[in-house]
Subunit: 323 residues, 2 copies
Amino acid sequence: MKEVIKYDIAIIGSGPAGMSAAIYAARGGLKPIVFEKGVLGGQITVTQEVENYPGFHKTLSGIELMDEMKKHADKFGTEICEEEVKGVGMQGLCKIIETDKKIYHAKTLIIATGAHPRKLNVPGEDKFYGKGVSYCATCDGFFYRDKVVAVVGGGDSAIEEAMFLTRFVKKVYIIHRRNELRAVQIIQDRAFENPKIEFVWNSEIQEVSGKDFVESITVYNKKEEKHFDLAVDGIFVYVGILPNNELIESRVELDKQGFALVDDSMQTNIPGIFAAGDIVSKKLRQVITAASDGAIAAWSAEKWITIHQENDETDLKTCELPK
Amino acid sequence: MKEVIKYDIAIIGSGPAGMSAAIYAARGGLKPIVFEKGVLGGQITVTQEVENYPGFHKTLSGIELMDEMKKHADKFGTEICEEEVKGVGMQGLCKIIETDKKIYHAKTLIIATGAHPRKLNVPGEDKFYGKGVSYCATCDGFFYRDKVVAVVGGGDSAIEEAMFLTRFVKKVYIIHRRNELRAVQIIQDRAFENPKIEFVWNSEIQEVSGKDFVESITVYNKKEEKHFDLAVDGIFVYVGILPNNELIESRVELDKQGFALVDDSMQTNIPGIFAAGDIVSKKLRQVITAASDGAIAAWSAEKWITIHQENDETDLKTCELPK
């Protein structure tokens, strides 16, 4: 039988949402544990330059920022567990977290597993990630002043972010595999009016090329069955963002895209299960919004425990911490 | 006639919400202006020790944190205007901001004027602020391990925060002017069960005393018409938080307590007017949640401008920036 270890708050994911939740939980007198199966710090750690987390005005890497957050969580006594969570269950109100090694019981659970962009899966995409390939115009647009970029996609996000990029760049190619957009009409109208935007219809990127940095893309026009190259300094890929919801999809109420629906306490439809960060159904996915979610989730979890822990009608006592 | 100066985004308030909005707006290629009538940095600048803004693991003062945020906004070219906004109006979709000196036109407006705690207005309260007098248990509870504190108030916040404080302190007096609580029943039940909490009914604090730090409070029991002293290391005042909503109360939809109601883009009921930070109707008021609000509001304002600026049916052209 696997060993059972007890916590107030189990946090799955160690990105900005998870770390912020840990800081607030530990500083709030609770015993949190953070599970991380991959790289400590989450998706932001693959980012070379973060310059929009308010207060950190000196540009730093995602790894450096998350190192500061980890030190912050350490300061108040957060336990980090580098095991992969295999399943999440409930025993009454008590949450059961099973990893490949052990079983953990927690009074509350914060899901901060994040999301990841859908990739094009073409040669050069990974090689030039952070060197001209980006999945976030809000994050990286500022680095492309007076440059030429391509945006891939035809939905609301693709077109909105292409419009946003025209505030900086000389020219934006919007490369879309169909001959019409999926974006809402008013956004389409604005894009068609914008002199900096050129549409490349019925087309897909086949390859991303360059030396140290992106220099060109090879495009295939499916209708005309022709390949051609476009000189660009960067590519913004907007073909979807996918929630890392494998652990919760059968249990927690999700939106159409699979992101967790939460109330203003960051609580999901399951009592005592909260969600925070990119996994949440919301408008803007940034380090600052994730960190805010994490703080709210931990604060709410503390209130939830206070209300429920003395209640004999629940099974929360099965996950009471040892005295 | 007053001079008219034009901006993309006018931000009223220079606390964490306003500064974060400025950082996101300026880095997003827009021209923002931040109005501040008082101390640059807002209410947090009166805080001696901030240790829960994720990433800043070395304890710093509110002034130091806001200085970092101001440098961050400066880096991307934010204009700070130390004039007092006297009124806010609309001309079609264009927002008019009138100060004692000038008139400003902006395409969008972010209200980040904050809130302030209702004070007891008793001798010693101001003198010992930050030295034993606090209005935020989430912020300062951690500093009171194994101490004796008093909480003033009888509503949900007062009782919830008293419960929260029992995670750290030896004892909490809840001092309430009536002989029953206003808090919801389940929270009351938990508080009555908690052995660390002692209720002091029908009572008001008359004075806060100490040398360098709070040492005692003088309490007056109205029913028994008696004064007595209690030895405490700290007081947490929870008799209400008041939104700084003077500029918007006639225009923007507010909740019952006077906080601004916003959608998930931080937009109020008025097109192109956003709110961020403590002025917003929400659960948790912290630097991190305010900074997140500001980022979302600025991001949303950019999208709003993109959609509306080319629309001839509106009057937004009257606040177009000079080319």
